[in-house]
């Protein structure tokens, strides 16, 4: 096994698990998929670019699109208010924040998968446009256009934008039952 691989595994395992978890919402499945991503990376080592992490994300994206669909379905109901999720520790008085989060999440989930992915890569994986382009297998200019359009659609889905919400979390739609694509 090449040194590049052991270095990549040690350096990027955490980031790849997080990438997978953001799309699977299942820590165990995310860990397993991350391992498969690295195995695929190992097998395709000859193709690896200098920008390793976006490349790994690209591998994970393709695996999620195909091989993991069936498994993902079993956990397709996204718990937006799960016990150990992002809302952990929400206290009374934080309802507005919770509702805003719900709306952002619901808006994101309402977008096409391609829009979601560019937004996640930039917003959660913290990739710049050049890195996102590597992950998506496109040119930087294309990634920039995709981000622009996806951001516009996200904002449209959030209309009015979250900062302007008058919040009543009880009357929010049951977005927790939405199925992830």
């Amino acid at each position: 096994m090449g040194e590049w691989f052991t270095d990549a595994y040690a350096s990027h395992y955490d980031a790849v698990v997080r990438y997978c978890h953001r799309r699977l919402r299942d820590a165990g499945a995310a860990e397993e998929l991350a391992q498969e991503v690295f195995l695929t990376a190992w097998r395709r080592g000859g193709e690896r670019p200098r920008s390793m992490l976006p490349w790994l994300y690209g591998i994970a994206h393709k695996m999620l699109a195909n091989e993991w669909r069936a498994r993902r379905r079993a956990a397709s109901t996204v718990p937006l208010l799960d016990e150990d999720g992002w809302d952990a520790g929400v206290t009374a008085g934080a309802e507005e924040s919770v509702a805003v989060r719900l709306d952002v999440e619901a808006a994101l989930l309402s977008l096409a998968e391609a829009d979601q992915e560019i937004l996640r890569l930039v917003g959660w994986e913290q990739l710049d446009l050049g890195e996102a382009a590597v992950a998506l297998g496109c040119r930087r200019a294309t990634a920039a256009v995709r981000l622009h359009r996806a951001r516009r659609r996200l904002l449209r889905a959030l209309d009015p934008p979250p900062s302007a919400f008058a919040v009543d979390p009880v009357r929010r739609p049951a977005v927790g039952s939405q199925e992830r694509s």
Binding site: M1, F5, T6, Y9, A10, Y13, D14, V17, R18, H21, R22, D26, G28, E31, E32, Q35, E36, F38, L39, T40, W42, R43, G46, E47, K62, M63, A65, N66, E67, R69, A70, R71, R73, A74, A75, D84, G85, W86, V100, R101, V104, E105, L108, A112, E113, A114, L119, R120, V122, G123, W124, Q126, L129, L147, H148, R151, L154, L158, P162, S181
Partner: protein, 331 residues
């Protein structure tokens, strides 16, 4: 605020990974070898732990139900008997070129429809090996895929109950198997959900197709890409001939000659070995239509971690049983 910053501001607070612990020490690397129908790109592989700890290996072995008996060795199918089974085998160039000239029509060539319907079947034995235990399960699997060129459609994967040589094996498997949520057998695909490897179909120019199939230093990749294409599209007569002509142009392939696949169909086989000679991929084509009938993966020698009963060992097997153009998913 520029778009990148704005997206981060919006999405940052809803990052589902916020609550995850830091994975500072990666676990031992598990090596999956399963070749499930929907696992279009999984390959046989062996690896060691990235962290230098215990090695976990997951393998998948084909099981021929006709020969399954109540022993560990019986779940392993015998390798296909091929006309040129021994090495060295001839290069397939002249054989496949001649075959390409004779490619005839398939029943679906004159049909059309928004969706392709692909029916495959395979038998797999998953083996999990840890430092102190080995567990195996035989998993037959049937798959039907309805797929439009926009990536929408439906997929039905019927994973039949795992089979075990004995109760002890079942108990060990239950202890070691990865815990994954059960999957629904049927899944509707939204547009774009199925990422096509060949969104524009197969090139019908043999040289262009050969270039698209080849990857330097990886002799088995062209065969894997051909079988991947057959998992998402139906090559028409011209494309089937082009595949044969393209493979005829590539180095490092072996012509294995006449063979009868595990569905009893006559075919001709082409194989390629990994550079280290440890793994062999085999494709079986119909001699009259040029259709891909079967894909088989074999481990050629003891890889040092698996305790398979004999080598070469068939580790995955897929039969391409039916292809059709239909107008709606489920038809």
């Amino acid at each position: 605020m520029n778009p990148v910053d704005e997206v981060r501001r919006l999405l940052g607070p809803v990052d589902p990974a916020r609550a995850l612990p830091a994975y500072t020490t990666p676990p031992p690397l598990a090596v999956p070898v399963e070749a499930a129908p929907q696992a279009r790109s999984r390959r046989w592989a062996l690896a060691v732990s990235g962290a230098g700890a215990a090695v976990v290996i997951t393998a998948a072995l084909l099981v021929n139900p006709l020969t399954t008996r109540d022993t560990a060795t019986a779940v392993m199918p015998a390798p296909l008997v091929m006309q040129y089974g021994a090495d060295p085998a001839p290069h397939p160039g002249p054989y496949l070129s001649r075959l390409a000239e004779q490619v005839g029509a398939a029943p679906y060539d004159a049909t059309s429809g928004r969706y392709v319907r692909l029916t495959t079947k395979g038998w797999y034995l998953d083996t999990t090996i840890t430092r102190d235990a080995v567990a195996s399960a035989t998993v037959p699997m049937e798959s039907q895929l309805w797929l439009a060129r926009d990536g929408s459609g439906r997929e039905t994967v019927r994973k039949l109950p795992p089979e075990f040589p004995d109760e002890a094996a079942r108990a060990k498997w239950k202890r070691l198997e990865p815990t994954m949520p059960p999957a629904d057998p049927t899944h509707d695909l939204k547009p774009g959900e199925y990422a096509l490897s060949w969104p524009r179909g197969l090139p019908t120019d043999p040289a262009a197709l050969a270039a698209a199939l080849a990857r330097p230093g990886d002799p088995v990749e062209p065969l894997l890409r051909v079988q991947n294409a057959n998992r998402e599209l139906i090559p028409d007569r011209a494309a089937r001939a082009a595949v044969l002509r393209a493979l005829a142009l590539l180095d490092d392939l072996a012509y294995r000659g006449e063979v009868t696949d595990r569905a009893g169909r006559r075919g001709v086989a082409v194989s390629a070995d990994t550079p280290d000679g440890g793994r062999r991929e085999v494709l079986v084509f119909a001699p009259d239509t040029g259709e891909l009938l079967a894909h088989e993966t074999m481990i050629m020698r003891e890889p040092g971690a698996l305790d398979l009963p004999a080598y070469p060992a068939v580790v995955s097997y897929t039969l391409f049983l039916n292809r059709a153009h239909v107008d709606r998913p489920g038809a």
